[in-house]
Every structure is written in C-alpha cells, then in structure tokens.
C-alpha cells in the first residue's frame, strides 16, 4: 500500500505545475493500483463465496447420470414443468396487479397533499423489510381460518371464505410484499414529471384519461418496467411466504426445497435453482436494457 501511495503522490495533479491542459485531469490519488487494492477484499469474498459456489452448483446440476442433459430432463419432468409454469403465471399476475395498485396510489400521493399525507406514505411503505415468513403470517391474519376476511364473510353470507393456504393466499402475500417497493419507485418517478406537459395536454382539450394514457404513463414507463421486473423476480424466487402458508403449494422454490430436503435429490435441486436464478436474473437484466441505464433495484 505504501508503495502505491507514493506513486499517487508524485502523480498527483495538484503537485504538478502543468495542470489544466485539455487532458482529463487525473484526480488526486487516482492510482489504479490503489483502487484495485481497495476493491480486492470485496472481490475476494465475492469470488470465494458467490462465484465459486455458483459454478459448483451449475456443475452439480449436470453431475447426474445424464450429464448436461439433466437440465433438459429437469424441464421435461411433468411435475417440474407444472411447477415452473404455475410459478411464472403467479409471478406475472402478481406483477400486473401490483403495478396497477401501486401506480394509482403512488400517483395520487404525489399529486395531492392533504392532512395525514406523510403518515399515509409511511404506513404504505413500512412493510418494505418484512421477511417472507412474516408476510405469510399477515396473509393468515387476513385470509386464514381465524382471519378477518373469514369473519367478515361469515357475518355477511354465513359462509367462511378462507383462501390463505393456497395459490390465492400466495398471490395476496406477494402483492402485499411488493406494494411498498413499487409505490416508492412510482412516487420517485412521478415527482420528476414535468407538470407543464400535462397542462399542455389539458389545454389542448385532452380528457383526463388521455392525459394519463398519453402523457403520464409513457413518462413513468422506465420506472414501471424496473419496478415490475423486480416484483416479478421476487415473486419467482421468494420462499418464506409459501413455506409459511403451506408446503404443498406448487411453486418452484418449494419444489427445489422439497427435492433438496425430502428427496435428497441434490442434482435436481441444483438444476432447478440454476434455472430459477437464470430466469430472475434475465428478467432484471432485460428490464434494465429496456428501460435504459437509469434502472436500479429499488432497494
């Protein structure tokens, strides 16, 4: 370290008399060696505990009797295919529902101020950091055997509506989980909208729905794509909620878990995890390229 500090000091532009001369000035202490040294610890940890294990997982997926064909075989297994299709459908549905709900609420919160506004924003966004298991418990509180929806429907119709322990419960849970994140993204994007564009559209006689469809939604598109991709990827890979609601729900993470723990079929579990990781990673990467460089995971 001390050696490269020395290099940096001699190269430091502040010490050299020829400074501003068209060339992009090299910043104080920008010695590449030092920056590399600063990156090294994180890079080492990342390589040892993420990249290497990932490569190993991919290899194990192909470690069975069929070799690399195992990946194809995993997909053609009817049970696995079924679970993949239902997970994709569930995640797509969750994404559409969450985007719709969060766009309406987020736009409203940005465009109107009223007493209690800050509290409303806080309440809508604080479940951001709930783990999947807690989300599952919230769904049980709402739609479980002793849940609110059951009690209300029993009082109204005499029949108890209980759907927590099924795909519908999982759907509710994932929407619940995604709403805070998407609302935050929509609000951040909507705050940057230029109000003059809307005024122009209105002054030209556009009714509110045309303003929304032709001015507001196109402007929000990048944010909606990135938030939607994040929502989709989370719904694909989430595990805690399904685990809490019912271990029989046929979604891919549950299938992987069952293959790994109950069947001890490590090769299949590995192949399916690699597949799942590819899907979620591709969803996020596609969204990033579709929405431009500004897309970042919402946090």
């Amino acid at each position: 370290m001390s050696a490269c500090t020395g290099i940096a000091a001699t190269r430091s532009p502040a010490r050299s008399p020829v400074r501003s001369r068209g060339r992009p000035s090299s910043p104080a202490g920008h010695a590449p060696l030092r920056l590399a040294a600063l990156l090294a610890p994180a890079a080492a940890v990342f390589a040892a505990f993420f990249l290497l294990p990932l490569v190993r997982l991919i290899a194990i997926g192909a470690g069975g009797a069929e070799g690399w064909g195992a990946y194809l075989a995993t997909l053609t297994d009817p049970g696995h295919l079924d679970s993949l299709v239902s997970t994709l459908a569930l995640s797509a549905g969750v994404t559409v529902a969450t985007l719709a709900i969060a766009t309406v609420a987020g736009l409203f919160l940005v465009r109107h101020r009223f007493p209690g506004h800050a509290l409303l924003v806080a309440l809508l966004t604080f479940p951001l950091a709930f783990p999947g298991a807690v989300i599952g418990f919230m769904v049980i509180m709402l739609a479980g055997r002793q849940g609110l929806i059951g009690t209300v429907t029993q009082a109204l119709t005499g029949g108890r509506l209980v759907f927590a322990y099924s795909m519908a419960g999982l759907f509710l849970g994932y929407v619940y989980f995604s709403i805070p994140r998407v609302i935050l993204t929509v609000m951040a994007a909507a705050e940057k909208l230029d109000p003059r564009l809307e005024e122009a559209a209105r002054s030209l006689g556009a009714p509110p729905w045309r303003v929304a469809a032709d001015v507001i939604l196109p402007a929000l598109k990048p944010a909606l794509i990135s938030a939607g991709a994040l929502c989709f990827a989370t719904a694909m890979g989430a595990f805690g909620t399904a685990f809490t609601l019912a271990t029989r729900i046929n979604v891919l993470p549950m299938t992987i878990y069952t293959e790994f723990t109950l069947q001890a079929n490590i090769a299949a579990a590995a192949a399916l995890s690699v597949l799942l990781g590819l899907i979620t990673w591709a969803a996020l990467a596609l969204a990033r390229s579709a929405a431009g460089g500004s897309v970042a995971a919402a946090g």
Binding site: L35, L38, P41, F49, A105, F126, F239, G277, G299
Partner: protein, 267 residues
Amino acid sequence: MTTLSNRRGWGFWLQLGFTLLVCALMTVPVVMSMLAGLTANYFVGLKSGLTLRWVEEVWRVYAGTILLSLQVAVACLACTLALGVPTAYALARRPGRFARLAEELLMMPVAIPGLATALALIVTYGGIGDLRSSWLFILIGHVLFTLPFMVRAVLAVMASTDLKTLEEGAASLGAGFLRRFLTIVLPNCRSGILAGSLMVLTLSVGEFNLTWLLHTPLTKTLPVGLADAYASLRIEIGSAYTLLFFLMIVPGLILLQALARRGRPDA
C-alpha cells in the same frame, strides 16, 4: 407542488378511497397480529383480556434466536462497511464500463433467489470443518445478500459529491491518501453510510430465504424461529413473536424513511 388540490372532484375522493383501502390492506393485518400477541385468548377475542404472557413465553423459548439475529446483523454490518465502503469509493473514482460490470456482478446475489445462493454455499462449503454448524455460515450468506445495498447507498452519495475536487484540495495541502479518506471522503458520504447501514441491519435481521437453508438447530435466527412458531405453536405465540420482531426493525425503518425525506430537496 403544483397540485390541483383546490379542484377536488369525485376523482380525488375515488383515488383517496382506493389509497386508503390499500393502506388498510397493509396495516390491518399488522395491527391484528400485534393485538393477537397481547390477547389472552385469540379465539375468544379481545374481551378475554390483554396479557404479556405470550411475549414472556416467546422470550423464554426464543430469546436465543433474537440474540443470534442481533449478533449476525452487527457482524454483517461490520463486514459490509469494511468491504463495501472501499468498493464504493473505488467504483466512484473510476466510473466506466468496468465499474458498471462490477456493480452488476455485486447485485447478482440479490437478483438470484436466496434459495439458489444458499444451496450453492452448502454444496461448496457445507463439508468443510465445522463451518456448516457455525453461525459464520449464516453470516457469509447475509454479507453476500446485503453488500450490494451498502455499496449502492454509499455510491449514490459519492456520485453526487464532487469528491475529486475536495480531494485535490486536500492533496494540494499535503494530505496523504489515508488522511483524505478518513477526513474528507468518509465525512462527506456520512448520509449514504448511515442509510446503507440501516438497510443492512434491517435486511439481515429479516433475512429468511437464505437463512432457512443455512441454519442448523443450534443456529436459529429470528425469522427461522418465527417460521417455526407459525408452523407449530398457537397463534398468540406466533403473534407475540412477530410483535417482538416489529419492535426490532421498526426503529430502523422509521430512521430510513426520515433519511430518505431529508435527502429529497423538495419535501
């Protein structure tokens, strides 16, 4: 703030109603579970009286998981600070294709489901010494998962600060790198470090996807204990446990929101 708040037609009330409904969906189950954790008998309802009995019971059985979660979270914070702040600095000072690629790579443990990461860790390091049964195994997973959030939070602040000029000024006065880093760089991205730290703590305390596969009977964290309690114990105990979990993460979340508000110039 060019709102049309003076023209509140039916559209306004419709949207307000919808937003309140969404808010109810988010908050009602939380309130219900908090009450359930303090109710003597949930099946009878609130009229059975309020009690701290369930909270005490949870503390008796699960105090270990709460302490382990705190331990992992604090250790995870230390690791992400030591690894993440220098990384963010290096990426901020050398923006370009390499930095973008590095950021993209770092995000992978967030993009890839925790289940896959955990499986990968188990098949690679599960057989090495006592690592599998140690809490350090969980720590490794948490560091992978939270590191990108720390790097991003710090990087965002660094990118909006003219560190280059500030550092050049200090360097022209003869300050060496270490001195510049400690007295110029770190104080200037305080808010990013704080936001990143809160994020890391809350994420680590709540992490389940990775932890469920990485834990052993002797290394149960809070969310693992929660899933346990939901599956096997009465609803009051699960609720009381959830209540304790809320008490742990809500202060951090409130601070995070306050930070985010202060960071926005127009609010």
